[in-house]
């Protein structure tokens, strides 16, 4: 496949590009959806093609074709250059690329059990069994389960000499139970909303042990329908790990994307409240807050060998002792901002322009535990599993809803509450982080549905997190 990528690069250079790179990408996905013991969908998708990027002046030109022949690839390269050249009608300052190591190598996701080799019937039976368990709980109207698997091969060639083959394998899934009341619904999910996804094979699914958790999840959903509604107030908020992971994703991960900070995403995804001039001085949160973007974590969904510019995966400090010290970057944005390129540029399939993406943006472990956090909380609420999420275009004002909450009084978990929500402003909220679970309770939570870019791209990101506590948070907001 390298020959098609090379032909595309040659076509772009011949048409005037000062730099070009190309990726041949073969993607296979399998998704299975079961509702109430009936298969709703078994879907296999395969796509193949080459996408080529050409740099001329201030603009990238990009063209993709599903026709995997040398001639089509070469034509795609020429087209990418022609598109880049047309940008000169509305020009800016020429883009430059930060230097990175020029590599020729291969890399593969470590995995034990090829998810596409596991019999389809076994996967379907797992979900039918789980939904049967949940349906047997009185009050459950909808019992869903889903699995998803990705097998991605990429061949990357650049005009500077990169030549890299990667084989990525990702697996995940989950299930949820919904109780339907007269005027509202209540849902519980496992392992988290939209399922848990990781790099790895079918061992990921076996490890999360769906069958042993189905009964509990369904019972919680049914109980929520008659639980008291959460009262509005300001108190200590304890977040379960997957909700804290999403909190990181939305209020840290997107805010530190250098393309947003530079205004490149202003019209759609948005910008950032962070200003480059305050890098290394801005206080992001309390001293308990330490965050890295680490693309090398085994098993985490945002891990890989090389990004889609051929830059090696690496760990970058983002927040150290509460102070903002790093960004997510690619070769062009890093050169413009004067920072080291972080290897964080990825594209969704062969037909999308690679862009700055989160890798594994997550917390370093604290020194506490969920039990200790609850025991040391006088008046608070413990919320678990995301149900809704919304944040403004500068990543400052957020409001999250969770599936379930429990009051915490005098160091003990109290009654269950329904419709728990909380809202806050990013630096104040993170400034209130005062307790964080240790390494034993950290999980590499995966987010398989991160939307960004135009045309829209779906990114897969990881977020190490465990339970944590935040002081003085406004909770119980509703319409």
């Amino acid at each position: 496949m390298f020959e098609y990528a090379a032909a595309a690069v040659e076509g772009a250079l011949a048409a005037g590009a000062v730099y070009a790179d190309a990726r041949v990408v073969l993607t296979r996905t399998e998704s299975i959806d079961v509702l109430n013991q009936a298969v709703e969908s078994v879907d296999h998708i395969e796509s193949a093609g080459v996408g080529v990027r050409a740099l001329i002046g201030s603009s990238w030109g990009f063209y993709a074709t599903g026709d995997l022949t040398e001639r089509a690839a070469r034509d795609a390269g020429a087209m990418a250059s022609a598109i880049a050249r047309a940008s000169a009608l509305v020009p800016g300052a020429p883009l430059e690329l930060a230097d990175v190591p020029i590599t020729q190598t291969t890399w593969e996701t470590p995995y034990l059990e090829d998810p596409f080799s596991v019999p389809l019937a076994e996967k379907v039976d797992l979900l039918i069994g789980v939904t049967a368990t949940m349906q047997a709980v009185p009050g459950i109207a909808l019992a869903r389960g889903d699995l998803g698997f990705f097998d991605i091969n990429k061949w990357f060639v650049s005009s500077q000499g990169h030549r890299i083959h990667q084989h990525l394998v990702e697996s995940g899934g989950g299930f949820d139970a919904t109780a339907v009341g007269e005027s509202e619904t209540q849902r519980r999910s496992y392992p988290q909303s939209f399922g848990q996804y990781e790099t790895g094979g079918y061992e990921v699914i076996r490890r999360w042990d769906f069958p042993s958790n189905a009964q509990r999840i369904a019972e919680e959903a049914a109980a929520l329908l008659s639980a008291p509604e959460m009262e509005e107030g300001e108190k200590s908020l304890i977040l379960e790990g997957s909700q804290l992971a999403l909190q990181i994703h939305e209020s840290v991960g997107h805010a530190i994307e250098l393309d947003r900070i530079l205004g490149w995403e202003a019209a759609f995804a948005g910008t950032s409240h962070l200003e480059l001039a305050k890098l290394n001085t801005h206080r992001y949160g309390s001293e308990v807050m330490n965050i890295t973007a680490d693309a090398t974590l085994p098993g985490s969904l945002g891990s890989f060998g090389f990004d889609d510019e051929g830059t090696p995966a690496q760990s970058v400090d983002i927040v150290r002792d509460g102070r903002w010290v790093g960004v997510l970057s690619g070769r062009d944005s890093a050169a413009l901002a004067g920072v080291a390129p972080g290897g964080m540029v990825r594209g969704d399939g062969f037909n999308r322009l690679p862009m700055v993406r989160m890798t594994n943006v997550g917390l370093l472990p604290g020194d506490s535990s969920l039990d200790e956090i609850i025991a040391e909380t006088g008046d608070g609420v413990y919320m678990a599993t995301n149900r809704s999420w919304s944040i403004d275009d500068r990543r400052l004002n957020f409001q999250f809803g969770c599936e379930i909450g429990w009051e915490v009084k005098n160091g003990k978990l109290g009654r269950m509450v329904r419709n728990p929500t909380y809202t806050g402003i990013t630096p104040q909220f993170w400034g209130g982080l005062d307790m964080l679970a240790g390494a034993d309770e950290m999980v590499y939570w995966g987010t398989p549905n991160c939307g960004k870019g135009q045309p829209m791209q779906i990114g897969h990101t990881g977020h190490p997190a465990g339970p944590g506590r935040f002081a003085n948070v406004r909770v119980g907001v509703r319409g």
């Binding site: 078994v42 990238w60 599903g66 500068r394």
Partner: protein, 443 residues
Amino acid sequence: MKAEQNIAEEVLELVGPDADAEVTVNAGTSSLTRFANSFIHQNVGEEGSTVSLRLSVDARVASGTTTNLEAASLERFVADTTAAARVQPVDPDWPGLVVPTETPRLEHFDPATADAPPQARAEKVKAFVDAAPELSAAGYCETAAVTVAFANSAGHRATGRYSRAILDGIQQTPAASGSGHATGVSLDDLDAAATGALAGTRARGGAVTFNTKPGEYEVVLAPECVATIAVFLAVYGFNAKAALEGQSFARVGDAQFDPRIDLVDDVTDRRALGVVFDSEGTPKQRLALIDAGVTSALAHDRRTARKAGTVSTGHATPGSDVWGPMAHTLFLREGHTAVDEMVAAVERGIFVATFNYCRVLDPKSLVVTGLTRNGTFMIENGKITGAVSNLRFTQSFVAALGPGNVLSIGDDARFGDSEFGPGMAHVPSVRLGSWNFTGGADG
């Protein structure tokens, strides 16, 4: 179009007589020119085809999609999909295939847009940027053209094609931003200078900012906001699967909305985008979803129609087995009130240009939280008196258009850019008696 039909026939032949199959071939091009900081920085294009196959072997169902059209690959693709179907449990709700049905001869297609070169998009971007030269512009201009061929083993055939052009952007001062948007079948029809000028006017209007307290306010919502409301009603409410599952607010026959509200889904409208049949090959019906405030219909695909004892309305989508059928060619009937007249009628309220990051707190009540963006203004004594910092709201979208809350409907209907994307809802501005703002974006 012939080539796409031939591929569909080839796949049906590979399936053979032992399965019921639906094949859809999509082929086309899509190009998008993106700008930020007032220059073009990302400029992309793609060409390609996809083949989607759903088949049933004795009511055991599986589906697949491939971009690889080589004969050997298609053979393997069909064999794999068939093998996947054979190991499935019997689907008791398999609705079977559409029988041969006449499909309206109507295309929303402009050849010049289909062939638009990158220079044509760059010229639109230049006009948008030049409309407010002292401001910083960002956004995109997209053109796309798609040919669709459908064939099933019951003998039904349908073909169609469509084009689409979009210009969407903002103008920014250091302190504020304003948006403009245009969508249509033809790139030539997009007035880039006017779109950029509107965005500029909104951005400049943000110079003086009010510190507004959260609470209930009268509002004037521009088409982008109304498009998001309309699409959320369609996705979460007028979706027959959601209704069958008890998760929808919709009660057909009940006056759930203000009598001023008429909402139809109508792909036969000359302004509509897309092809006139759905992913199961069913011709899309004109569907009155809200008729003078009364919830009047739900969107069905063949599966939900079978469960409900009715017929498909032609609203199947590639994911509707899981997510449910969706009306996405929505038209909210425009009124006779100019936006200026709406503003003039407000004693104290807020004008909102666009919503941002809307998420449902509960699907049944359709309580949604989101923020305002790119143009939020205070209205006092009938005049816009300054900008308001972006606000968070937590509001039921059903109650927003509920009886008595719709004070007037604008005469400015156009495609608005909804939370789910552009080109799905053709809507006017509306003036609503009450909207629940729950916080400020900056704290």
